[in-house]
Symmetry: C2
Subunit: 501 residues, 2 copies
């Protein structure tokens, strides 16, 4: 069908440019000589501009309008298959989102946040919230404006979440997260009543070279295809893809915290596999895009936590780990190790927190950023309210704003609406994993033998290969027959942290 | 000046895209997962297309026409500085070259050669010239057509050389190369009368890791700024730059031939320094472009041979080399080593040949490709004539075409006119080096102490920083007050290979 093919051709061009943009970003974090930062910024800005032009051009609008009515969202072309219709619906959504924001606004937003990131980095270093406050005020206002331009029915924050988790609403998150908060708070109290665990041996020195070797051994054992994924080192671990055949992941090596490198590799493998398994025959269409940030995060958290902290996983890997780090671990038996990595300690810092308290950090940020956007919290009160909330949720309180409301980069980047996806990722991960473990009752046996093929196939067939064909709700329903709830996740945590399973 | 700035802005956009294209190429050879080759090809094709559009657009023509008359080449704008005039002259030359070839021709040329490279690789492997001959015939015809479209006064080959060595003419090369051939032939005879040198110790096993370490030690000792250049490994060594602040070089590691990695690093350092020292304030204009392939090659050969095979260089580096490879070299003294690396043995293969006979390989190719283009040699006679010429020039004759006329990739790529630049590079290198050694009589003392700063500054100030401001002739004249000749190069070879200096 000629009309559909024309839309796809233009979509493919934009997606190809986007792949190139991603290579520029990857290289910048991994191998680029430092002196090249200015020229790299120009290259990235040029690519971003070209992609935006391509996706919002009049030519593209005309081609798309031959298939669908942009106002009503009704399919106009009679000859589309169901799959093509799904693609066209999503093409329209993207087009409307991208054309609503005028380029003058995009420019102002990107200039403000790019400056704000620098100011934030200095303010965090010097524990000087006052220095960052004017930037944050500007960014909150710009996000309010963004919400107005994009439009919403009930809450301005709806428009912002939608950029990262399409279709999600503030009200739905409030219900989900308030139940989750209750569950987690009571769980943490119970976990903390348990006897103290000695985990000091996890923080010995573990040689850099061996950590890198073990990272690659993980990929080998998981049978990750080296013809479409590679692992490197960077300051912050990340995953990025140029195309389903070209996915790159990184890890961070800390000599005094080797588990951080292992969990990073597993986390990024989860992201990377999602990208590799998107259906490349639909490259350039939304059918070859990941569904949402929350679903992406579900894939990384599934590998990092549900697998990477599971008994069967370590049944297979602990002997290999002991073999690599015999000096550090030969006298530590499996049970000691397994208990130690499950130690629960409330932390002031989100990225250092354990699995049980992690989501509480997100819920705190969700409440605060929602309040900032709706105007019920002012920027100047943020440090104070942050501390109160920390005390309330965790029973600990940061002494400095650097360890408080200045700890994350997200707000400086302008990314209001992003944080909830971290919690959603955990909920979806538990939800999908329930579907998997019901379908494959013997999964523990497979994985303790180092066979990950059944899990990989399940995720590929049930999640990855659909791209954006189904909504998050539809996907959740397909996999378990039930809607997403916090209960599956809470059950998983209770089973592990209270019953030690 | 607004009109000049407009041209530069568009030039900068094309140059930025070109830098991005170069990163795609670099990544493909160095780190890209193999499975990504198809998507990478699409990315490269898209970038190449966009660069061509940018450089040949009507908008660019109009802007350029405000400054210069495209037909006559006369400057129209009164307010240009001398430097800006140089840039505008070169902008015009590029524009005319790029707009002459119709896109249908470019497409046919690139499709034919991209297929031919695959056929050539198989033919070379299987020693089957007949399989490659039809492709080569097509490529010769396309190059004849190219020459006709581009235009020439005396010889169709002129139009082809001009693509790599602007301004160079067939007749000038004939004079230069015929004198060079006489000189080299008589030199080789004399060199071969000298007693045989034992160089077997050079071909022991040298550990890969240590070769890589020594490559990086070379960069450190040469005080190459790691903030704008990096060294990696690839199958074929190469150098490529994204911007003067972002130059990448590679080397090839062969366990049984460690000198090949050292000479590759030095060769690519020469190319890389040229790119790093181009004046970045003129990025996007021809003032920030390298002058020609021959001049580029002069920089690489200067570091590889005039420096990298010199006594003072090894005075400094041989102790470091012995230290790195003590097992292999502790019993080899300086004189043995120095004699061994200067061993002269005629080789059938260009890339394996010694410094003395290298240019003869080029002269042979020059004669043959010129004859193919003018039609005085037909493709079917090529293998036969190649063998005859080898016998005549080297006194040896290949048994197979794989070691004969199938050995190089250049013709399959369609690059007729490229080979002469390899010989020119050597001549220019000797010419520039004469200028340097006259100006800095104590250079040997500096370099034997490991101080390369005077040489690096000389090359930067006399060659690199001018970009395309001067022609090759002007540059040669500025540096020594004389025109390029083969004699300086022959003198250098004689002094080294006959007098052992």
């Amino acid at each position: 069908m000629k009309e559909y093919e024309e839309v796809v051709t233009q979509g493919r061009k934009a997606a190809t440019l986007n792949g190139i943009l991603n290579l520029l970003t990857w290289d910048q974090e991994v191998f680029m000589p430092k002196g090249a930062i200015e020229s790299r910024s120009s290259q990235i800005a040029l690519m971003a501009h070209m992609i935006h032009e391509e996706r919002t051009s009049k030519g593209f609008r005309h081609k798309l309008e031959a298939l669908i009515d942009l106002d009503s969202g009704k399919i106009k072309h009679k000859g589309l298959t169901d799959l093509q219709k799904s693609a066209v619906y999503e093409f329209r959504k993207d087009f409307l989102k991208q054309t609503k924001l005028p380029s003058s606004f995009i420019k102002e937003f990107s200039e403000t946040t790019s400056l704000a990131v620098q100011i934030w980095a200095k303010a965090k270093k010097e524990n000087d919230f006052a220095a960052f406050a004017p930037s944050l005020e500007k960014i909150v206002k710009l996000n309010q404006k963004k919400a107005d331009i994009l439009g919403y029915e009930n809450h301005p924050y709806d428009a912002l979440i939608d950029l990262f988790e399409p279709g999600m609403k503030t009200s739905k998150l409030e219900t989900l997260f308030s139940s989750l908060e209750n569950g987690l708070s009571s769980l943490i109290k119970k976990v903390q009543e348990k006897p103290h665990v000695n985990d000091a041996f996890l923080f010995q020195t573990f040689e850099r070279e061996k950590q890198i070797l073990f990272g690659n051994l993980l990929l080998d054992e998981l049978k990750i295809d080296s013809e479409c994924m590679r692992l490197d080192e960077s300051v912050h671990p990340f995953s990025i893809a140029m195309h389903p055949t070209d996915s790159r992941i990184t890890t961070r090596i800390a000599e005094k915290n080797f588990m951080s490198s292992i969990t990073s590799v597993l986390h990024e493998v989860g992201h990377g596999l999602y990208e590799c398994n998107l259906p490349q025959e639909h490259f350039g269409t939304p059918l070859c895009d990941s569904l949402s940030i929350g679903i992406h995060e579900s894939q990384s958290r599934l590998w990092e936590t549900l697998i990477g902290y599971s008994k069967p996983f370590w049944d297979h890997f602990y002997p290999l780990l002991q073999n690599t780090f015999s000096k550090q671990l030969s006298s530590v038996d499996f049970d000691q190790f397994y208990k130690a990595i499950h130690n629960v300690k409330p932390s002031l810092i989100r990225v250092d927190s354990d699995e049980v308290s992690y989501c509480l950090h997100i819920l705190l940020r969700f409440d605060l950023e929602k309040a900032l956007i709706e105007g019920s919290l002012s920027v100047k009160d943020l440090p104070h309210v942050w501390k109160e909330k920390m005390q309330e949720l965790f029973g600990i309180c940061p002494q400095t704003d650097s360890e408080g409301c200045l700890q994350d980069i997200h707000w400086a980047c302008g990314d209001f609406g992003y944080f909830p996806t971290y919690a959603l990722g955990n909920l979806y991960a538990a939800h999908f994993f329930e579907g998997f473990s019901k379908k494959h009752a013997l999964w523990e046996k497979d994985i303790s033998k180092g066979d990950f093929s059944v899990l990989k196939t399940f995720l590929k067939e049930e999640v990855h290969c659909h791209g954006r064909r189904y909504s998050q709700e539809e996907l959740a329903m397909r996999i378990t027959g039930r809607e997403l709830s916090d209960q599956t996740y809470l059950n998983y945590l209770e089973k592990k942290y209270l019953q030690g399973k």
